[in-house]
């Protein structure tokens, strides 16, 4: 027995030693970020540069027209006619475009050198085929570009035209969104030309093409050799799926991955983690604001249907300190629901102030009395109490709930906080069965027109329940519908100003902070850039 045991032990130790060697070799390969030897016979001695990036989500089915794929991954492969970059609409697959004077006809002149990754050329016919499939799927009615589309045609091989039923200025914004108006190569369509039941091949015109993929494990992208634009600086990259942020950070520290890039869809680093990695000397990058975090007060239910109660609640929140304590300087306090840098949103709103005295005065005047020895105010025997429903798995929401609870106690308001499962919370908020809830704006290119439209639609968003009790809600909704149709830019700006002022005057949506995207990389990586809230552009990324 002893003999056998000792043999077993010896074998185990040997195996362990061998494993150690194997690991250190692999390790050093990974540690050097990613350079692998090129096959012999290649004249260039430069080895291809690959980067490994942690991703919190799997890339999904990579169908450009549906919502089953990660947006940032769709964005690598598929392109639209235009893109939203640097605060405005820029050429995409359409090099130029003309807009008719009545604002109804948009004529796009496609790039003649745009090619799909299978070597086929982009044509207007192909664009029509994509639009056919998107409209057949009938999933995007909430987008003006779909709702106001009259018809579209291929004028010639490289000219594509859409005609709207009514003028709708943000149509280009909708076309710039990552889905659904992105182009799939002919080889990707099913026999009947549809895409809503799946696609046959992943072929796009974008800078990257998917070359290796194991669901829920990793996805490798390499340069599309036919890409029309300037080639990215790295040869390819692998997105490795991590279901836990701490593990992703450990993998970064172990040198197995080169970058963690947090955006709307994939969030692996808490604020503390990010700061500790910055302190540890890794390279760090922060984007401009991408969307707005807000608290929504349901003005349809008691006691929040009382304007003074809402106003007092808002005045009692020291948002500056809240944002500082939750984000430690990584996010800026939001003064308005839309970041002033968003198109049409720099309308000079005043924002809400912090004034406990005034809040107390409002409640006093309103008849909410704080009796001696009591913690909370009452009115007609009813306690001043509200409930904040939040997603308990979300650290930011949990912090908001806890801090707000202690903040409003100062004015004798009892804020109960109720953490729930994610889906249950979302569904509660969208069906109006809440008093206070956490929401975010959708970011570019949807802000402000698409989010406003959702606010003006029954049950279209949580904010609807905040605004619906507005005295002249129909008038507000009419302005929301009219603003994007205003062909004249000044007229449009004036309408948006009125709309946003009306929202602010309602005291029912509390902007908290402007969310940013953040990245941490190994020290040999630079050129990290940002874009929309849910994309991760890698064209400029370089490895030294």
């Amino acid at each position: 027995m002893k003999k056998r045991l000792s043999i077993l032990l010896a074998v185990c130790m040997l195996a362990g030693a061998l494993a150690g060697c194997g690991a250190s070799k692999e390790e050093s390969a990974a540690g050097e970020a990613t350079t692998t030897e090129e096959n012999a016979g290649e004249e260039e001695t430069e080895a291809p540069v690959f980067v490994t990036i942690a991703s919190g989500v799997d890339i999904g089915d990579m169908n450009p027209h549906l919502a089953n794929a990660a947006i940032f991954a769709q964005n690598y492969v598929y392109e639209g006619l235009v893109v939203y970059e640097d605060g405005g609409i820029q050429p995409g697959l359409a090099e130029t475009w003309d807009i008719s004077e009545d604002g109804l006809t948009y004529t796009f002149h496609l790039r003649e050198n745009a090619m799909y990754s299978d070597g086929t050329a982009l044509t207007a016919e192909n664009v029509v085929k994509n639009f056919d499939a998107i409209f057949a799927a009938n999933l995007y009615g909430y987008m003006g570009a779909a709702a106001y589309m009259d018809h579209y045609t291929a004028v010639d091989e490289h000219t594509f035209e859409i005609v709207l039923t009514e003028p709708y200025a943000p149509v280009l914004h909708d076309l710039a969104a990552v889905r659904p108006f992105r182009m799939l190569g002919d080889a990707g369509f099913m026999e009947d030309g549809s895409t809503d039941q799946g696609i046959k091949e992943i072929v796009g015109t974008g800078p990257w093409m998917l070359t290796d993929y194991v669901e829920n494990e990793y996805a490798t992208f390499e340069q599309n050799p036919y890409y029309w634009g300037e080639a990215p600086k790295i040869d390819g990259f692998t997105l490795k799926v991590f279901t836990d942020g701490q593990t992703a950070v450990s993998a970064l520290e172990a040198g197995e991955i080169d970058m963690i890039y947090d955006m709307y869809e994939s969030q692996l680093m808490s604020v503390d983690t990010y700061n500790s990695l910055v302190d540890a000397g890794y390279n760090s990058f922060i984007s401009e604001p991408v969307l707005t975090r807000a608290l929504t007060l349901n003005s349809q239910v008691e006691p929040l249907n009382d304007f003074n109660v809402r106003k007092a609640l808002i005045l009692a929140l020291d948002r500056e300190s809240i944002v500082q304590s939750v984000f430690g300087g990584l996010e800026e306090m939001a003064q308005s629901y839309y970041w002033p840098g968003t198109m049409d949103c720099n309308v000079g709103l005043k924002g809400y102030s912090y004034n406990v005295e005034e809040a107390n005065k409002l409640l006093d005047e309103d008849g909410w009395v704080l009796e001696d020895g009591k913690e909370y105010r009452t009115k007609d025997g009813k306690e001043l109490a509200v409930t904040f429903y939040y997603d308990a798995s979300n650290v930011v929401q949990t912090s908001f709930a806890q801090i707000c609870q202690s903040e409003v106690k100062k004015i004798g308001m009892n804020m109960k906080i109720m953490g729930e499962e994610y889906s249950a919370n979302i569904s509660r908020i969208y069906s109006g069965e809440f008093e206070i809830g956490y929401t975010v704006s959708w970011g570019d290119p949807y802000d402000p027109h698409s989010t406003l439209a959702a606010m003006a639609t029954v049950g279209g968003s949580a904010e609807y329940f905040a605004l619906a009790s507005m005295e002249n809600f129909d008038d507000f909704a009419a302005k929301v519908a009219a603003a994007p149709k205003a062909v004249d830019a000044e007229e449009r700006q004036a309408l948006y100003k009125e709309i946003m002022q009306a929202i602010e005057d309602e005291y029912s949506i509390i902007p908290i902070s402007y969310q940013t995207n953040r990245a941490i990389t190994q020290t040999n990586i630079s050129g990290v850039t940002f874009g929309l809230s849910n994309i991760m552009p890698l064209n400029e990324l370089t490895v030294e």
Partner: protein
């Protein structure tokens, strides 16, 4: 024994029937239903028209009883339907995830099968000796430390500090070491304690006394009388633990980003992906039934008294 096995196999049918009804009903009682969750994920406006469209797409427009029977009849034809969120066949998704989990559970089982007897024998040879002390400490820690804490601790130590094991991925056998060990430790701890107690008990048994009296060598007595008798209940429990290993991987799969059943079901529940959840519950029920069967067969194999019971 054969009768018993046949009876067990026949019991699968009513068990699965009950499980399927409970599973079907329970997930429909969750707050936020599949239609709502799908519409929110796709930014679909909550109009009656849209709701009807999605309900029909998922076959949820029919009465629940009708839904249940059409699901059961499809399942009998081994058709588990399509996922609501990804247009994939549920059977494929489940099979892929099951393979990953089974590999992990298999590796954990290897740790269990190797370490349990080694540690058990170590500690029972000289009770209260230093090896026994070590083993008892090991078992105490194994039972007390939560799996995810152990997982993170190992990642920090072996992955980040010593850099001898990979933190992520599942490409090589090295990737299996940490998650499978973390998964197995709690099991090993309880099995070792069980084995140790059994052995100490058997050491005091009359048959051991006789064997010693007959002058049989100590080692032989240990192997044939003490160890063999002590293994029996342990083998049975180890067999039953297969079910717990497969169904209990949710936490460790999340820590190690393992693409198995734990991850699949977490996502499916968040998305209210009914076909996936239903099929998962059925699968786990089958796994538990099979694990119990295997445990019984193992016991019979180790212990002739059970095997020959009916003839005797």
């Amino acid at each position: 024994m054969r009768k018993y096995i046949i009876k067990q196999i026949l019991m699968i049918i009513p068990t699965l029937l009950i499980v399927s009804i409970v599973a079907f009903g329970m997930i429909r009682m969750l707050p936020a239903d599949a239609v709502e969750t799908y519409m929110l994920a796709n930014h679909l406006e909550m109009t009656d028209e849209n709701i009807a469209m999605v309900e029909e797409k998922f076959g949820l427009h029919e009465p629940v009883v009708t839904q249940y029977f059409s699901w059961v009849s499809a399942v009998l034809h081994l058709d588990f339907g399509e996922s609501y969120t990804s247009n994939q066949e549920v059977a494929d998704m489940l099979w892929k995830a099951f393979k990953a989990t089974a590999q992990l559970a298999g590796a954990a089982m290897l740790w269990i099968v190797v370490l349990t007897p080694v540690l058990g024998i170590f500690s029972a040879k000289k009770p209260n000796g230093w090896m026994d002390g070590f083993t008892r400490m090991f078992c105490l820690m194994g039972t007390a430390i939560p799996t995810f804490v152990l997982g993170f601790f190992m990642i920090r130590l072996f992955g980040v500090q010593l850099k001898i094991l990979p933190v992520s991925g599942k490409e090589s056998w090295m990737n299996y070491i940490m998650p499978s060990f973390a998964l197995s430790l709690a099991h090993i701890s309880s099995f070792v304690q069980m084995l140790r107690n059994e052995m100490l008990e058997n050491k005091k048994g009359a048959f051991t006394l006789y064997a010693n009296a007959r002058g049989i060598k100590e080692g032989v007595v240990f192997r044939t009388h003490i160890l063999k008798n002590s293994m029996l209940p342990v083998v049975n429990t180890v067999g039953i633990s297969i079910g717990r290993l497969i169904a209990g991987t949710v936490v460790i799969e999340n820590v190690f980003s393992w693409p198995g059943l734990g991850q699949l079901i977490t996502k499916a529940i968040l998305a209210r992906d009914y076909p996936v959840i239903q099929a998962y519950i059925l699968l786990i029920a089958i796994v538990f039934i099979c694990a119990n069967l295997i445990a019984d067969l193992l016991s019979a194999w180790v212990d002739p008294r059970i095997r020959l019971g009916e003839k005797g």
